[in-house]
């Protein structure tokens, strides 16, 4: 199995999760790296991390493919991938990595928000908002950290099953404190084991 990290930037952030799956499958085909197939529909055994919202850039997407390669995987992948999808690290693993479960937290940088006291916000016992599906949700428990870096808000948010979308948070903060939720970049997927894997 090949486990690799890749980017989703430079326009690729607008490719939907399902379309990205097809793009990665085709990247492997173009690269001449066969991926094992499974199921009635003969689907390639490619496993991706939890879907990233359309329009959110990422420097830390992860994917696991049932394939083997002993050459320069980064070079061959990047030569065959669409613009903005670039492999930045890879390794081989013995069995499938359940990425949506393994990646529990992610770091994001959210541009364009007006400055506010993040510590005061984090001190609030609960933060309630209406999400994109018009559901009222409590999000405080899904925020691990908030801090400012040169006017850009850095946030560590829950990923996987209890995910908090950074654009949902960004829009909430813009509505409450001002500014505008601009470019969002996912910078890291936080899981110690994986960092170890892709050191």
């Amino acid at each position: 199995m090949i486990l690799f990290r890749y980017t989703k930037v430079d326009g690729a952030e607008y490719i939907s999760h399902l379309d990205l799956f097809r793009q990665i499958d085709r990247t492997f085909r173009r690269a001449g790296i066969p991926v094992a197939m499974e199921g009635m529909g003969n689907h390639p055994k490619i496993f991706m991390n939890a879907p990233l919202g359309t329009g959110i850039q990422s420097l830390a997407e992860y994917c696991c493919a049932d394939a083997a390669y002993d050459g320069d995987f980064i070079r061959i992948f990047n030569e065959n991938a669409p613009k903005g999808v670039r492999c930045t690290a890879w390794t081989t693993v013995e069995k499938k990595v359940n990425l949506p479960v393994l990646i529990a937290w992610c770091d994001y940088r959210i541009e364009g928000l007006a400055h506010f006291d993040e510590e005061a916000l984090l001190a609030e016992p609960e933060i309630v908002l209406t999400d994109k599906r018009d559901r009222v949700v409590e999000i405080r428990s899904k925020i691990h950290a908030l801090y400012w870096d040169n006017g850009i808000l850095c946030a560590t948010l829950r990923s996987g099953n209890q995910t908090l979308r950074p654009d949902v948070l960004g829009e909430y903060l813009a509505a409450r404190f001002g500014g505008k939720c601009g470019t969002i970049v996912k910078t890291t997927a936080k899981q110690e084991d994986m960092r170890e894997l892709l050191k």
């Binding site: 607008y14 490719i15 499958d25 085709r26």
Partner: protein, 656 residues
């Protein structure tokens, strides 16, 4: 977001004041001239700045470019934007525009792409004053030297206006000066270019592999000053084979609006590439960001069709038949599969079952392509259906097009298939496990009666009886789809009238009654859209006024049911006084037809002879049984496979 300076009708207010300040005291004409000059500022759309616009729309990856296999080319002597006036998923599936792009890039020209933005994105572009831009360079369309549109079907015409408008380019060619790009158009619809003559500067009629690049080279000369002005450039372009320049032809009409005469350049012969093995073909394809209509490698196994079905425009305008060689096709398929990562190869043509070396080609592809690549065979005729071919398609449903319900009517339209052949083909499909059958028919064919419609129901009953004559695991499903017949130019039926709405409604009612059977579904196309299609397929220059009025009434994406505005069109008819009935009527054989100045190499005498034979219900059969003297033979030695073709039958009793 960067303020966009764009100066056609939508002049940015702030910038206008700045401009006025800069040259205060001058005449308004000078102000306008200044603004026009400023238009030459080169500008690139910033996707990051457009984030909100993109996210407000469905499928934003349609508008971001960056596909694998597409490349951002540096500017060249000629910068060309290839457009298809339909959505990204349709445009990215089109082979023709890829061939044209390749022929231009091979000559060192910069080629980019653009498709019609869906209504949500179009609205967002307008609201944010962002001009329509190309996908690779993210450059406003107005900054290109030449914009080429592929006209694939008549109901996409308003989208050409929509794209020009979004680009800030005046719609009428008479309102565009040298600062605007030259608007060119190609594709099958250009055999009757007249409805678009007010909007397009240059039409390419016929094969586009060579003449587009020749015109591009002339444009470079014009740009470098070697050709003095735009008019001289258009005159030079008009001398290139297959090129029609509407500015160089005038049409004189009679009082009853029929054509009295053409003046100026009155004869345009289509361009034709004699040997497709030597013709340009894309060696790589841009792989779409989102799932396209045809998400696979397409190889064009041959151009043209041997059959000569009397309703089929493509069967006449793409003559003569020119098959590609097995080696060429195998190389193209292998190269494209390797470079795209697709897992399917589609062998396209008007009638792939008639490709003379089909078995050899399938064997060759199976031997050379990776194991997991499947082969698809669209456009198989019932009489060329072969279990060996069908198995390669790996589908649960098969589609056949008998087109008419009785043998008499099939003979009228020269659809040379029998009920027995239909049942044999369907029977072998059932034995292979197929249980879905789609059947295509046409309503309103010349000489059609209720008996012919009942024949459709009879075919469905016989297919059903055949299926249930053996024990099968699944229930049979038959989908019958009925399109309204459109008498198209350059067919033996070009003089026929289109059936009226009432007649078609009656025919649909007869069918509904007759087809109340288990497992059979019936669908049909909307009559109003079919009448519009007839209007613009057979239209003259006056129909351009209707197009413009309809566009101003909000009509775009007319081929899409969810966007179609019947009211917008009805208002356009009332505003212009031009109605579809003027073009759905029967044309007299002696009248000059609006498209008579175009020569697709098939003679009018042949069409007339075929028309007579249609009324006598005489089958002419296919070219495979011998030359029928359509006119092509005057200029080209046709490839007639005779016995080498699996679909060849000795049915044509007459040779010219």
């Amino acid at each position: 977001m960067q303020k966009i300076r764009f100066f056609s009708k939508k002049v940015d207010t702030l910038f206008t004041f700045r401009a006025l300040y800069a040259i205060i005291g001058r005449k308004i004409e000078e102000v306008y001239a200044f603004l026009q000059e400023e238009r030459t500022y080169s500008m690139k759309i910033d996707l990051n700045a457009m984030k909100d616009v993109l996210l407000s729309c469905e499928k934003p990856s349609r508008y971001t470019g960056g596909e694998f296999g597409s490349e951002e080319m540096p500017d060249s002597d000629l910068n060309f934007c290839m457009c298809l006036p339909d959505v990204y998923e349709v445009g990215m599936s089109n082979l023709g525009i890829k061939i044209v792009a390749k022929s231009l890039t091979d000559r060192g020209f910069c080629v980019d792409r653009c498709f019609a933005p869906w209504v949500d994105f179009g609205k967002a572009l307008r609201e944010n004053h962002i001009p329509l831009y190309s996908l690779q360079k993210k450059k406003p369309l107005a900054e290109f030297d030449m914009i080429g549109f592929s006209l694939q079907y008549e109901l996409s015409y308003t989208n050409l206006l929509y794209m020009l408008d979004l680009a800030g380019i005046p719609l009428l060619r008479t309102e565009r000066d040298e600062k605007y790009p030259v608007i060119v158009a190609g594709g099958p619809c250009t055999v009757n270019p007249e409805p678009m003559a007010d909007f397009v500067d240059i039409f390419f009629i016929g094969d586009g592999e060579e003449n587009d690049a020749e015109v591009a080279a002339l444009y470079v000369k014009f740009k470098k000053g070697e050709i003095p002005d735009r008019h001289a450039f258009l005159e030079a372009a008009a001398k290139v084979p297959g090129v029609y320049v509407p500015a160089l032809m005038e049409v004189e009409y009679n009082d009853d609006h029929t054509v009295r005469a053409f003046h100026g350049i009155t004869h345009v012969k289509k361009a034709m590439i004699p040997d497709l093995d030597k013709a340009v073909y894309p060696d790589k394809l841009a792989v779409p960001n989102c799932e396209a209509v045809h998400d696979r490698v397409v190889i064009e196994v041959m151009r043209g069709c041997y059959r000569g079905c009397r309703f089929c425009q493509a069967g006449f305008i793409y003559r003569p038949v020119r098959p590609r060689g097995v080696d060429t096709l195998t190389k193209q398929a292998c190269s494209l599969i390797r470079k795209t990562g697709y897992d399917e190869v589609s062998m396209n043509s008007l009638s792939t079952g008639d490709y003379p070396h089909l078995r050899e080609l399938i064997r060759s592809l199976k031997a050379e392509l990776p194991e997991n690549v499947t082969l698809a065979l669209p456009s198989l005729r019932v009489d060329s259906f072969d279990s060996e071919f069908a198995q390669d398609a790996r589908r649960s449903s098969l589609t056949f097009a008998p087109e008419a319900g009785t043998q008499r009517l099939r003979d009228v339209i020269n659809k040379d298939v029998t009920l027995e052949e239909i049942l044999t083909a369907v029977g072998s499909a059932f034995d292979m496990g197929y249980y879905n059958v789609k059947l295509y028919f046409m309503l309103g064919l010349p000489t059609e009666t209720d008996e012919d419609l009942l024949g459709i129901a009879d075919i469905a009953k016989q297919i059903s009886a055949l299926y249930y004559s053996k024990k099968r695991k699944k229930q049979l499903r038959i989908s019958i789809s009925c399109a309204t017949f459109i008498p198209k130019p350059f067919t033996p039926f070009q003089w026929e009238r289109q059936a009226s709405a009432e007649e078609i409604e009656h025919k649909q009612q007869v069918l509904r009654e007759a087809l109340r059977m288990r497992g059979v579904s019936l669908s049909w196309t909307d009559y109003f859209q079919a009448a519009l299609e007839a209007m613009f397929a057979r239209g003259d220059r006056r129909t351009g006024k209707v197009l413009l009025a309809a566009y101003k009434n909000g009509c775009i994406f007319d081929g899409w049911a969810e966007c179609f505005s019947k009211e917008g069109w009805q208002n356009a008819f009332a505003e212009t006084g031009v109605y579809p009935t003027e073009f759905t009527r029967a044309f007299a054989e002696e009248e000059i037809l609006p498209w008579d100045f175009v020569d697709v190499l098939v003679t009018k005498e042949f069409y007339l002879r075929e028309r007579r034979r249609a009324y006598q219900a005489k089958v002419t059969g296919s070219c495979m049984a011998g030359c029928k003297g359509c006119g092509i033979q005057r200029e080209f030695t046709c490839h007639i496979p005779q016995n080498e073709c699996p679909g060849a039958k000795k049915s044509g009793e007459e040779t010219a």
